[in-house]
């Protein structure tokens, strides 16, 4: 079937069978490989994207059902300028192998957008994203540091 997806500000038209997941459509059809397939069952979070501004597991979402704009990790940074959450992940060493990182970052962006800062609440919010390298404490530090930077920027504006 013919579908149109708005991805990172661009509208893409493609012909997919109804059973194709958003994750496979992004990776295999559109060459957007930031979202990763770690389980294909909605259990690891490596495929996390935003749909209409909310986090979604792209491996559990059929491409043909998506109507709202999609943002992937590739859509966060502009003109070589990293998103504050991306910069915080690099600075806090909140990654090792990096395979879960695109999904972690999309969840972290949602956490900071919701103003979540309490360490226990950050841990809870981020618990849908597995990290086998176990960078968890650094991920908490990155979310909190990016959040406080975003709040500072907002206050300045």
């Amino acid at each position: 079937m013919d579908i149109a997806l708005q991805i990172n500000g661009t509208t893409e038209h493609l012909d997919v069978s109804p059973g194709v997941t958003l994750l496979d459509a992004l990776r295999e059809r559109l060459g957007i490989t930031g979202p990763k397939k770690g389980c294909d069952r909605g259990q690891c979070g490596a495929c996390t994207v935003h749909i209409g501004g909310r986090t979604a597991l792209s491996c559990l979402t059929l491409a043909a059902t998506v109507r709202q704009p999609i943002t992937t990790v590739e859509g966060l940074s502009t003109h070589d300028q990293l998103h504050p959450v991306q910069r915080a992940f690099a600075d806090q060493d909140a990654l090792q192998c990096g395979f879960c990182t695109p999904g972690q970052i999309m969840s972290a962006v949602a956490a900071t957008a919701q103003g979540i800062d309490d360490p226990d609440e950050v841990r809870e919010f981020m618990s849908g994203n597995l990290c086998r390298c176990s960078a968890y404490p650094n991920i908490v530090a990155a979310v909190r540091s990016a959040g406080s930077e975003e709040r500072r920027t907002d206050a300045t504006v």
Partner: protein, 727 residues
């Protein structure tokens, strides 16, 4: 600058893992697995598969992909899929379906009709213990059983009988899966008779050699690329999907992708074995160890391929004792293959040994740290070679002060509804090196590259190469480009055995020294800019030592003035005579605080501290991260993960919902400290590895804390709530 040169790629989604390589006309492969644990594939009706939409190729034991036998220098004979009809375990690859799309391949694979001639399968480790066989522990040249006895002592039993205080207990550890976030996968592309394969692995040159062997190609016709790897932990030393993808791509005349599903990873790769360990310790009243007996059993495949070396990996070396006896047996089963997993031997072995030491401390009414300090070894028992640099006492001293160990009571404490306990354990991992070659190249634009074939699967080796390269070339780090993950680069930096930093780091130093010598020779050659001068190298420049008025020239200027774009050299290091002079190991003190709910028995880890003696620390931020990750692996082994087998040999928890890993909410802040004593007896770099030691001892520290909190000694991991329920 961030701790990891590849962090900017990883946070923007632009790091290219194996399956992120976009290749025109790539077909998709899907594996078909056995549904019995033991027997033969009697028939496979694949007509429906072959005629399904989009299917390009169907390979089975009856119509296999042609492969040649391969023996890996590291792991021995490699199992090659679809070469015969034997089934040795449930979930073994028995077919490979290639189609235009992933969905078509997956759907078509489901149409295969397979029949088996089933044979009786041995699947219970517990049932097999009685008929266990002596087995060679992995990564060891020692015999399965060995003993060291004091003069006049006839047997370990006599030494135990003569001890003032003894404990004797049996411990069990669960089989585990590496569960790297990136499932095993590959993309294979042929062009003009040469093969390029993108596949996550631990050493691209070794995987390239495996592929060349399996496909009957000259070594230089295969290139393997893995610039980033989505986790390995010992589970990606070989790449079975790469073999299938490459062979199918050759048959079909187009690129092929092959990826295991998460469920397939649990049975189509290899796992950490289950272990049972019986430990008897005998001590004098003052805590001096007089006898250590450690008997180990490991689950294994029928060919006894990999045996988890729990007693050889721990009790053989850790404590001073006059009498020691260890043994290793295996229980052959029809279960998925076993292989190295992070801290092989030391991980599960330390759960048993360090729990037993804690039990002995209780029996002696002695502080567990004091007991460990009293029995600190200066060399492995019965051996002359002293530890090159061992500061375990300092680790415990620093750790006890930092953790507030003096507040620990022998019976824990109660805070509201929570029973709170503290536990500790020793961590140790051998200080090893592997042979390594690294290339250092100076470029005319005054930058340099440091390159090796090995891998950085999250370990931080890329940053280490950058730092050591910058230091050795006396350059700023932003002028160094470290490169890893291409089999055409010099063969070094294999990710395994916690060896990469010491091995590739010291080879980088040698290569840098050589390229500087070559630069100076070039500068003073008859047509060089410093002909007839005495020269030296500093700060990225050549200086005339005998004419200080003469302006120095950067190496780029020297290269340009001699008409060169670049100048490169390789450096090679390998274990040498130091191995005949000392014993080498990293050491650490692990601390854990747990809270157990008085009613529900929920177990929460509330504080973790590890203090490590790992020689020189090259990249402190990444080193801390790696140790933190290791410590969380220890918590996971203690409280979360374990493969469960059904009676039919099926893995019953083969996904990430049922195979429990810690999530962020399970993990508190983790404190990591170093006592930094460079070990220049191991290599000029002074660093030992720290990839594995982080998890060693931690599971015991958790269990010891649970005992301190509740009075319940749990000798089987993972610990479950029900282990703490009162009858």
């Amino acid at each position: 600058m961030t701790a990891r040169p590849d962090a900017p790629l990883k946070v923007t989604g632009s790091a290219t893992y194996a399956l992120d390589n976009l290749v025109d006309r790539a077909a998709h492969g899907f594996l078909l697995l056995s549904t019995v644990a033991h027997g033969e594939v009697a028939s496979m009706d694949v007509d429906a598969v072959r005629s399904a939409p989009g299917v390009l190729g169907v390979y089975t034991p009856f119509e296999p992909l042609a492969l040649h036998p391969v023996t890996s220098p590291l792991l021995g004979p490699m199992w090659l899929p679809l070469q015969d009809t034997n089934v040795t375990h449930h979930g073994q690859p028995i077919g490979f379906v290639v189609a235009e799309t992933f969905e078509q391949a997956r759907d078509a694979a489901g149409l295969a009709a397979v029949t088996y001639e089933e044979r009786q399968a041995a699947t219970s480790f517990a049932d097999g213990l009685a008929s266990a066989v002596d087995a060679q522990p992995a990564a060891s040249e020692a015999p399965p059983s060995l003993s060291v006895l004091a003069d006049g002592v006839a047997s370990i039993e006599d030494a135990l009988d003569a001890s003032d205080v003894t404990i004797d207990a049996t411990y069990e550890t669960a089989p585990q899966n590496h569960a790297a976030m990136e499932p095993h996968s590959a993309v294979a592309v042929w062009a003009d008779g040469e093969l390029t394969v993108y596949t996550g692995n631990q050493a691209s040159h070794l995987v390239a050699a495996d592929l060349a062997g399996a496909l009957g190609l000259p070594a230089d016709a295969v290139q393997v690329r893995n610039p980033v790897v989505g986790g390995a932990f010992g589970g990606k030393a070989t790449s079975m999907p790469a073999v299938l993808a490459a062979a199918a791509a050759r048959e079909l005349g187009r690129p092929v992708k092959a990826a295991l599903t998460r469920e397939q990873v649990f049975t189509a790769t290899a796992n950490r074995p289950a272990t049972v360990q019986r430990i008897a310790l005998g001590a004098r009243r003052d805590g001096t160890l007089a006898a250590v007996r450690h008997d180990s059993w490991s689950s294994a495949t029928p060919d006894l391929g990999f045996i988890e070396p729990t007693s050889h990996g721990t009790s053989r070396e850790w404590y001073r004792t006059e009498n020691l006896a260890i043994s290793q047996k295996a229980v052959p089963l029809n279960i998925p293959p076993a292989t190295f997993m992070r801290a092989p031997g030391e991980g599960p072995g330390s759960f048993a040994l360090e729990s037993a030491i804690d039990e002995l401390a209780v029996a002696l009414a002695m502080d567990p740290i004091a007991l460990r300090t009293r029995n600190n070894s200066t060399a492995p028992p019965g051996e002359d070679l002293q530890w090159s640099s061992k500061h375990l006492d300092e680790c415990f001293e620093v750790g006890a002060a930092r953790f507030g160990w003096e507040r620990r009571s022998p019976d824990g404490r109660v805070e509201g509804d929570w029973l709170v306990g503290m536990g500790t354990a020793t961590a140790m991992f051998p200080g090893l090196r592997f042979p390594a070659t690294v290339g250092v190249t100076l470029h005319a634009d005054d930058t340099a590259t440091v390159a090796a074939s090995g891998a950085d699967p999250g370990t931080g080796l890329l940053g280490v190469l950058g730092i050591v390269g910058a230091e050795s070339l006396d350059l700023d780090r932003d002028r160094i480009t470290p490169l890893l993950g291409d089999s055409r680069l010099p063969p070094g930096g294999l990710s395994g055995g916690s060896t990469a930093t010491a091995s590739a780091g010291s080879a980088t130093m040698v290569a840098a020294g050589t390229v500087i010598e070559q630069l100076l020779a070039l500068a003073t050659a008859p047509d060089g800019p410093f002909h007839g001068r005495e020269v030296g190298y500093a700060d990225g420049s050549v200086h005339a030592l005998d004419d200080t008025d003469r302006a120095p020239m950067t190496f780029g200027e020297v290269l340009r003035s001699t008409g060169r774009d670049s100048l490169g050299a390789t450096g090679t290091t390998a274990p040498g005579e130091e191995m005949a002079k000392h014993s080498f190991g990293s050491w650490g003190a692990q601390f854990c605080e747990v809270r157990v709910h008085r009613l529900t028995r929920e177990i929460r880890v509330s504080r973790l501290l590890g203090v490590f003696d790992a020689g020189r620390i090259i990249n402190p931020q990444a080193a801390r991260s790696q140790l933190m990750g290791g410590m969380i692996w220890g918590v996971s082994a203690a409280l979360h993960e374990g493969i469960e087998f059904g009676a039919d040999g099926r893995v019953t928890n083969r996904d990430l919902a049922d195979y429990l890993l810690p999530v962020n909410a399970d993990i508190p802040d983790v404190d990591v400290r170093f006592v930094e004593h460079p070990d220049t007896l191991l290599s000029d770099l002074g660093a030992r590895g720290l990839g594995e030691i982080g998890l060693v001892g931690m599971a015991a520290a958790v269990a010891n804390a649970v005992h301190n909190a509740t009075g319940v000694r749990v000798r089987r991991i993972p610990i479950r709530l029900e282990d703490l329920l009162e009858d």
